[in-house]
Amino acid sequence: MSETALMGESRQKLLLDLVGVRKTFDGFNAVERIDLSVMEGEFFTIVGPSGSGKTTLLRMLAGMDQPSDGAIYLRGESLNDMPANKRPTCLVFQSLALFPHMTVGQNIEFALKMRKIAPAARKARALELMRVVRLPETYYSKNVMKCSGGEKQRVALARAFAYDPEILLFDEPLSALDYKLRKTLEKELKDLHRETGKTFIYITHSLEEAMVMSDRIGVMRDGRLVQVGTPEEIYTKPSDKFVSEFMGEVNIVQVRPDGAGRYRSEDLAGSFTVNAPPSTDGYVVIRPEFLRFLASPSDADNHLTGRVHNEYSLGSRVQYQVRVGERMFLVEQPRRQSFGGGDVTIGWDAADAIFVAE
């Protein structure tokens, strides 16, 4: 599947190639036969729920775990035998893994010290990197454990940059931060990516985060890569129910073809039209923002009748829960609307719904 995604970007150079990579822990397959290619300079994000194997995959890239099977190639050369301290990759840990007994400066200079670079040169480079990650120079000799969460994050970044890796690996580095700080740092990371031109491989369980920053996204489930594509592709063409559900709150209706080009659901009255459907059982996925309240049933390709159950303000939008029979549908509107106690009709166009297989 990655082949198709590659076609459009064939001008870029292939950097990393994973072929049939598998990792087994005590008989349990943490990662199952993954094939994936990452381009030079790309910001590639792997998204998946916890336990989907994404951290294991990342640790194999970093050289901390060895694949049980398959190979990882960097520009065509196998990385399998190369230990972590020799690989041109650098991992930014979820825990950040800062060295608690060192100052900010010592943390950043660590990789340089390991290469036996002279102290003066080390310090110059550290200060330069501190500017890049927007840390004040005065922090140079500060105890790293006395820094705030965001500052620690920047130290970890600078430390990774100091290693000057070709590929930076990120293991959910922002997950412990508060919402506002996370948003700021997401943008900064994106900027840093552009400024440095390095390849970033980033893992997160937040699709939102992935959307903001990534060139391409891979979705993982139970050790498999289920879909790889641009944020746009993932968003608009999820490959299956899992991917579409993972993308956030969506309305999903299980359907089967009724033989007349339309689809029927067991627990809902009426039938639906879908653009370009295969003739199998599956699901119709409708995003809340594509559902709307209809003045008359004919205002949209498909419609349902129900009652408003609840409404929530999302700040910029308003979300309504509409009960249709036993089912609850989510409808999002830019503005608040008031309804009497009576029935409402909701509907959507065939072009806004996606059909996915099981």
Binding site: A84, K86, H101, M114
Partner: protein, 304 residues
């Protein structure tokens, strides 16, 4: 800030529960009281008694009723060779500590990182000998190493060659001390190494550090509190060791505790023995206090 909050909370609990009693002691101090009383009566007072005895007339029991520096004068008399015992005890202890750290480090490392669910069993196997009287175990070594003992006998059975003679030498005393004090080095080391987050080691490797560099720059400094406790504990206990020299070593060297013992037995001179005990206490106690005040015990024990 956290501490402040806890104090308030304690105050709240005690305040509501024991309003009538008033804030005589905080709950913490109240809980500490039994230990403190025990240590005052069973540790501080005996040490005072030793100090008092060390200033009593030589060969007498006139404690608290006579005062003289004669015992210390005797020890520091240039003709007295008791310094040799000090030297032996301290250097044997120092070498024991050095060798023990080399022996115990890989085991501790294995217990923390490699042995997984087996490390529980491994630690029980290492704790257990602490509960067997030291004399029995050391005598077991005599039976092993002596001529026609287990080692020699087995070699004779197998190939007819004699086992090397190792008993009754300073080397075997050292061996005995290493043997006896192994758990006291091992467990603090395990504690120390488990203070060290796995991620931090991985990060260092990832940043290009070789195995040795990881050990020197990360593992060692971060495991240092546990390491220090182990060093201190084994050193202090080894300075007080006596059975190894007597049972295994054939007294090939005379250790300090032996001199103290002779003062209390053959020499009938409790005051002199006390003066020696005071000196050994000064050394070990000083070292202990110095180290303990450098350590953050909450971090080491609480793994916070």
């Amino acid at each position: 800030m956290k501490i402040h909050a806890l104090q308030i909370q304690d105050a709240a609990i005690s305040g509501t529960a024991k309003k009538s009693r008033g804030p005589f002691l905080t709950p913490g101090a109240r809980c500490a009281l039994p230990v403190i009383v025990l240590l005052l009566l069973g540790f501080a007072a005996p040490l005072t008694a030793v100090i008092a005895y060390s200033f009593a007339e030589p060969h007498s029991f006139n404690v608290f009723s006579s005062f003289t520096f004669a015992n210390y004068a005797e020890i520091f008399n240039t003709e007295n060779t008791v310094w040799m015992s000090f030297l032996w005890s301290l250097s044997l202890a120092a070498v024991t500590v050095l060798i023990l750290s080399v022996i115990a480090y890989p085991i501790a490392y294995g217990m923390v990182y490699v042995f997984g669910r087996w490390s529980g069993l491994v630690s029980i196997l290492f704790v257990f000998p602490l509960f067997i009287s030291e004399n029995v175990r050391l005598y077991g070594w005599v039976l092993f190493f002596i001529k026609n003992g287990v080692f020699d006998g087995t070699l004779n059975l197998l190939g007819g060659s004699d086992a090397p003679e190792v008993l009754y030498s300073p080397g075997i005393i050292l061996f005995g001390m290493i043997y006896t004090y192994l758990p006291y080095m091992l467990f603090p080391l395990v504690l120390g190494l488990s203070l060290l987050p796995r991620d931090v080691v991985d990060a260092a490797k990832d940043l290009g550090a070789s195995r040795y560099q990881v050990w020197r720059e990360i593992e060692l400094p971060l495991a240092m509190p546990g390491f220090m406790i182990g060093l201190l504990l084994t050193f202090v206990l080894a300075v007080g060791a006596i059975a190894e020299s007597k049972v295994l070593g054939g007294q090939s060297v005379i250790v300090l505790t032996h001199d103290i013992e002779v003062s209390f037995t053959y020499a009938q001179n409790w005051p002199l023995g006390s003066a020696l005990a005071v000196l050994i206490t000064l050394i070990t106690g000083g070292l202990t206090l110095f180290m303990l005040f450098k350590l953050d015990l909450d971090r080491v024990l609480g793994r916070k």
